[in-house]
Amino acid sequence: MIRHSLNEALLNLWRNRFMNLVASFTIAVSLLVLGLFLLLAHNLKGVVAAVGSQVTVSVYLRPDVTEEQRARLIDSLRGRAEVESTEYLSPQAALEKFQRLFPTMREVAGELQENPLPASVEIRMAQGHRDPEALRRLAEEMERLPGVDDAEFDLPWVTRLQDVVAMARTAGISLGGVVGLAAILTIASVIRMTIYARQQEIEILRLVGATRLYIAAPFLLESSVLGIVGGGLSLGALYAIHRRLATSQGSVVPVLRDLLTASFLPQSTSILLLLLGLTAGALGGLLSLRRISR
């Protein structure tokens, strides 16, 4: 029975090859739109993470801080969930960094007798702990330690970042949901068309005594194949666009282009796209058959 269904499905895919090709292309187009969206979201996530990794608490040490105090401070941060990394900047290193960041101020620094900059420990916050509350808590804790003069972080910037991330996430999910739904509906209606075209065949099979399962199995296989082929085509097209944009100088808006070319979809998402095609195809087939065999 399985072999028959498979055989029938393959034969029918070939028999109606033109219509099936058109159906696959239509499916591919709607999945491509979804894929582009997912690619954008994926790279945006990367950007957010990169920016987010700059969320730091700067702990400024007193001039008279001892080695031991400094060591104790850094030790206390080791292995903590909220800390991604720590970096100690000696006054000299701080001066060099300052000069690097503000080249025009170099002369000013040169005129000073002493280095006014303090030593500091830059604490990069780990993902999930980049909210103002976490920063505030850590800063307060650091300030209580001996040898610490002051602990600061850029609250307005962090708050703004948080807002942007939250907004992007909401927009992403809702937009993604809409696009995904559109893709599924498109696939379902395309599949329905292919099955309606075979209505006569279904009717005759019923009249000679074929069971519902016997009739349905090849159709479901066919529609699943169409879905997966559509998915494959969309992935191929997506990759081609990705590569093309990466190598072209083009007039595409730079931000958009970066968001499409930074990296390609992770394997899991690619597979998800294929599975979506397959599932939507199978579901579309199932629903269409039910309407016909009524």
Partner: protein, 218 residues
């Protein structure tokens, strides 16, 4: 084999296709169903293979209560029947061979046996040279014969034929009837709906007549 008790079929708005039909066809009988166009012949046949459901009354086919049959058991009923449709109902994208083999395919008959039976029945109907042709490449008469072949190939318990000789010349029509007679002798109950009076007379079999949905007693 076939029993109808007070069967009515209404299509609403005063359209009474069948009115209080009572009839019984014994196993092994050969019966002609006749009447003017629109008298209800096709409707009656459709009730027998559950393409329509009677508005009221009881229908028994080969022991099965057709009216109360669940949808999932209908295929089983149909596999025991051989049906020749007035409009052939052949699959245009399948060859003659595949069209005829469909019933057996659906019943799970082994491939090799399917082949043998298909060739045998096509030979009986003089179509073995058209085995690989597609229905659209055949004449009306040839298509009709393919439809008949499909109905016969699985040696059904009951053969229902709706105007099986409509497109055939007298000689071929007679050959088909002879074929039906042979099948009948072998045990298949045969019910043929037709308004070919000559054929009916020549065959000399039992006749049931419908007039405006009612059975006429001779």
């Amino acid at each position: 084999m076939v029993e109808l008790y007070h069967v009515n079929k209404d299509y609403g708005r005063g359209n009474h296709a069948l009115v209080d039909v009572n009839l019984a066809i014994e196993k092994g009988e050969f019966v002609f169903l006749t009447g003017a166009s629109g008298a209800g012949k096709t409707t009656l046949l459709r009730l027998l293979f559950r393409e329509e459901i009677a508005t009221s009354g009881k229908i028994l086919v080969d022991g099965m209560n057709v009216s109360t049959l669940s949808a999932s058991r209908v295929p089983r009923l149909r596999r025991r029947l051989g049906i020749v449709f007035q409009d052939f109902k052949l699959l245009p994208r399948r060859t003659v061979f595949e069209n005829v083999g469909m019933v057996m395919e659906v019943s799970g008959v082994p491939r090799r046996l399917q082949r043998a039976k298909t060739y045998a029945v096509l030979e009986m109907l003089g179509l073995n040279h058209k085995v690989r042709s597609y229905p659209l490449e055949l004449s009306g008469g040839e298509q009709q014969r393919v439809a008949i072949a499909r109905a016969l190939v699985n040696e059904p318990a009951l053969l229902l034929a709706d105007e099986p000789t409509g497109n055939l010349d007298p000689k071929l029509s007679w050959d088909i009837m002879t074929l039906f007679k042979t099948i009948n002798i072998r045990g298949t109950t045969v019910l043929v709906a037709t308004h070919d009076k000559d054929l009916i007379t020549r065959m000399g079999k039992k006749v049931i007549t419908l007039d405006c949905g009612r059975l006429i007693t001779h």
